[in-house]
């Protein structure tokens, strides 16, 4: 059977990268005594499929993973077995049984929403998201490659500051193949230091539930 697990990746696992997260799920399943299905071939691999790599240091409340199990079991039972086996830093919100034929998660993600908190005081009036959005192009360079950030930004809004007074933004970035926006780049484009910000992923937008352009 194929499961889709919705989970939060929180503080304790902020610095666990994509490959290591994969391994963390494999071990969680083994601790939960759920029999993972493996791929065929000379080097069988556990069939675990994460939706969309979360950059190192980010937290998230909307991660998705598809997992194939050898045995058919009620979803409730699976969830009961999983709970005590979870490592600190993973919190499951929902487990669903999905058709084996469902398209792969990676092909489904089209956009990702983040909440950005800026930890340092911001000098002057602060950056103007509206100005950024009104620009026709935002030429930037990442890992030696020039690209235009502007078309990747689908939405950018100032949100009320957090309790401790830190500045706070909401951003929706494209996350399609070869067109993935990174929130640190947005912070840098605002003229601020990307390493002074905390990034939290709030929503994955899949093909099937893509919002209409009017909604946010």
């Amino acid at each position: 059977m194929r499961l889709r697990i919705h989970f939060h990746k929180t503080e304790a696992m902020r610095f666990t990268g994509h490959l290591d997260l994969h391994k963390a799920w494999e071990r969680t399943l083994r601790r939960a005594e759920l029999r993972l299905a493996y791929s065929q071939g000379f080097h069988p691999q556990p069939r675990i499929n994460l939706a969309c790599a979360l950059p190192l240091g980010f937290t998230s409340e909307c991660e998705l993973v598809d997992i194939w199990l050898e045995d058919e079991m009620p979803v409730d039972q699976i969830q009961i077995q999983l709970m005590p086996a979870l490592p600190p830093g993973i919190m499951i919100t929902h487990v669903e049984d999905i058709p084996l034929s469902a398209p792969s998660l990676q092909t489904q993600v089209v956009a990702v929403e983040y909440s950005i908190t800026y930890l340092d005081p911001i000098p002057g009036k602060g950056p103007m998201p509206a100005e950024l959005l009104s620009a026709e192009t935002l030429p930037r360079e990442r890992r030696g490659k020039a690209y235009d950030l502007r078309p990747l930004i689908e939405a950018l809004e100032v949100r009320p500051p957090a309790l401790d007074g830190c500045a706070h933004w909401f951003v929706r970035l494209a996350a399609r193949e070869k067109a993935t926006g990174r929130p640190e780049e947005v912070v840098a484009a605002l003229g601020l230091d990307p390493s002074a910000a905390r990034y939290h992923r709030t929503r994955l937008i899949l093909l099937e539930n893509q919002p209409s352009p009017a909604a946010s």
Binding site: D20, E33, Y38
Partner: protein
């Protein structure tokens, strides 16, 4: 600095360093106990990066034992990599424990794991990052007690100035006694000197400040004198009579580590008696765990951790008495679990292939064998007798059963080795490869790992000089030239690394100054090729006026005293001397399960043996004290010492 403040500063530091997962703690199975209400606080430190230290079984054992006590807690700390060290220093963050982020200086006891010598400068660096005085003599009652254990400390002298007390031998029981003594002392409020005195009364504990070293006029070591009359001399290593059940609640790291697996020690000690082997000499006697206990430990560990790999560890798996039964039990019980089970250190014989086939899951790498030397003459000298024919037969069989890669481990620099013996390594490799080609053709692969011999303390080769830099380079050049061939991969130990290991493992008290000065000149992470700074060490030798060659390139008279002989492994000097002389004649000893060679372990630990009869130990049995008369022990067939 408070844990909260450290946490707040880490918030800024961690996103800027490589692999921040090394510094967060919080992993599955981590144990966090209430700081304020737990009296005895122990920081277990492995002085290398997290990725290396997390794979250390000794740390895992002690972590479980200490945390099982109601009155004690153990937390972990590893060396920060250079980027993290720079960040900690620039943000003025003291080195902290992973569990609760307390500064190391807030602990009662700091316990360093020192399995090998190239961790010494890292140890100093950790003390420095923790704001604790480096020198034991400069610490006061307000500072933690700094202890160290592990295989390297069987010669503790190069670190004597920095460590308050060394644990010689196995830590399972002694760690509890150290905690008891430290806590009782804390309540009594007496001097730090009194704490050191009390510690020296624990069997297996060596407190260097209670001894003075004396030297001869020619600079060689004379003897160790105790300056506290009740201190033991020699200090006998500590062993556990029977291996306790193995730990099963391993911490599951969030990031990849070198041995990311469940380590289960199936046996401790080795009966083979390879003369170069430090571990084989210091870990005697051989004690085995029962098959059921191992199978049960694997089961629980899998449930507790979910690891996909299990390492069944020992110095010589093939010698585990019930190895077939164990392997069968493991393959039946864990057949379908997509597990990778490794069984290192197998003998060079076809039975090993059978064992590997039974264990072989879906993924498997190469097949590893360690002939150590390529000629029968050389293998007799090192007491690893096996015929070249048997080696070739075994490797051919391995290739024909489906392995495409064989790894062969060799050592250069054995005593009396000639350039022909080194040439033989190259020839043997080519021969093995061509044997493989006969059965599986072009896909045959061979990996030759050639390390360099270091004459280790407490072994029959402790009298032997180490190869000079030029000798090592010439031998390696030959191998590189001869084995430049498709399908053969050659790896070797950098010659300077070997020299450092030799100096540090053979050093006396005066070497502590060298370690200190090398660290001051920037030596750090000496086990890491990209970090190792040979010039810092040479400079340190020059500053102290010591000659490195004095420690490593000098033949020793048989009666020269060694600066580590106040530490006793339980082996008699006579046994080591005799074994060395035997080696010079190419005379070998059989596995001591077949015949006891009276190495000294049995008389030393006769009482323990008599209380633990039967298969628990592989040494001959000893009658209870009441039934013994005269000689302490009467092992079967003690050989008459040859004296020609």
């Amino acid at each position: 600095m408070s844990p909260l403040e450290i946490q707040a500063r880490l918030e800024r530091i961690l996103p800027t360093v490589q692999k921040p997962g090394r510094y967060t703690g919080g992993e599955y199975n981590q144990i966090v106990k209430p700081w304020d209400t737990t009296p005895a606080k122990v920081a277990l430190v492995f002085p290398d990066v997290y990725d290396i230290g997390m794979s250390n079984l000794g740390m895992a054992i002690l972590y479980e034992i200490i945390n099982q006590r109601d009155d004690a807690l153990a937390e972990r700390c590893y060396s920060p990599w250079s980027d993290m060290e720079a960040a900690l220093r620039s943000h003025a963050v003291p080195l902290y424990s992973l569990e609760t982020k307390h500064p190391l200086a807030d602990f009662d006891i700091i316990g360093f794991s020192l399995p090998y010598e190239t961790l010494y400068t890292n140890t100093l660096n950790i003390l420095d990052l923790a704001g604790i005085p480096l020198f034991s003599a400069e610490r006061t009652k307000e500072h933690p007690l700094v202890i160290a254990g592990g295989h390297a400390v069987y010669n503790p002298e190069p670190m004597h100035a920095f460590i308050d007390a060394f644990v010689i031998g196995e830590g399972e029981e002694v760690i509890e006694e150290i905690i008891d003594v430290q806590q009782a002392w804390r309540i009594s409020g007496t001097s730090r000197e009194d704490l050191l005195h009390r510690l020296s009364h624990i069997m297996g504990v060596y407190v260097p400040a209670l001894y003075t070293a004396h030297y001869e006029a020619d600079g060689t070591f004379s003897h160790m004198e105790k300056i506290y009359s009740q201190a033991p001399l020699p200090v006998l290593k500590r062993i556990v009579a029977k291996l306790p059940p193995p730990p099963t609640h391993f911490i599951v790291p969030y990031i990849d580590t070198v041995h990311n697996r469940i380590p289960i020690e199936i046996m401790r000690g080795c009966t083979r008696g390879c003369r170069f082997c430090h571990a084989g000499m210091i870990t005697r006697p051989v004690r085995e765990r029962p098959v059921e206990e191992i199978v049960q430990a694997i089961k629980s560990s899998l449930q507790n951790t979910g690891f996909e790999e299990i390492g069944l560890l020992s110095l010589s798996s093939s010698d585990y008495t019930h190895i077939l039964e164990l392997v069968e039990a493991v393959s039946t019980n864990f057949h379908d679990a997509h597990l990778n089970i490794s069984l290192p250190s197998l003998r060079i014989e076809s039975f090993s292939i059978e064992l590997m086939e039974k264990l072989r899951g879906s993924r498997h790498g190469g097949f590893t064998l360690a002939p150590e030397a390529a000629t029968e003459r050389m293998r007799e000298i090192i007491n690893k007798p096996i015929s070249t024919q048997q080696l070739l037969d075994t490797t051919r069989a391995i290739y024909s059963r489906g392995w495409t890669t064989i790894k062969l481990y060799f050592m250069i620099g054995h005593p009396s080795e000639t350039i022909e013996d080194v040439q033989a390594i190259a020839d043997l490799c080519k021969q093995v490869l061509s044997e493989g080609r006969k059965v599986i053709g072009k896909k045959t692969q061979l990996h030759a790992g050639v390390s360099t011999f270091v004459p280790k303390p407490h072994t029959p080769f402790q009298w032997v000089p180490c190869d000079s830099l030029e000798q090592i380079q010439a031998k390696q050049a030959l191998l590189k030239r001869e084995l430049r061939q498709k399908n053969i991969k050659l790896t070797w130990t950098a010659p300077y690394d070997t020299l450092l290991e030799a100096w540090l493992s053979r050093g006396d008290r005066r070497m502590a100054e060298v370690v200190y000065r090398a660290w001051r000149s920037g030596a750090l992470f000496d086990a890491w090729q990209e970090h190792f700074d040979y010039s810092a060490w040479i400079k340190a030798f020059q500053e102290t006026g010591l000659d490195p060659a004095f420690y490593t390139h000098r033949s020793r008279l048989m009666d020269e005293a060694f600066p580590w002989e106040h530490i006793s492994t339980g082996l008699r000097r006579k046994f080591l001397t005799e074994d060395y002389l035997w080696s010079l004649r190419g005379q070998t000893r059989v596995d001591c399960r077949e015949r006891c060679f009276a190495c000294g372990i049995l008389p030393t630990f006769a009482e323990l043996r008599s209380m633990n009869p039967g298969e628990v130990w592989q040494c001959p049995e000893v009658k209870p004290k009441s039934e013994r008369r005269g000689a302490i022990v009467n092992p079967v067939d003690i050989p008459v010492v040859a004296s020609d």
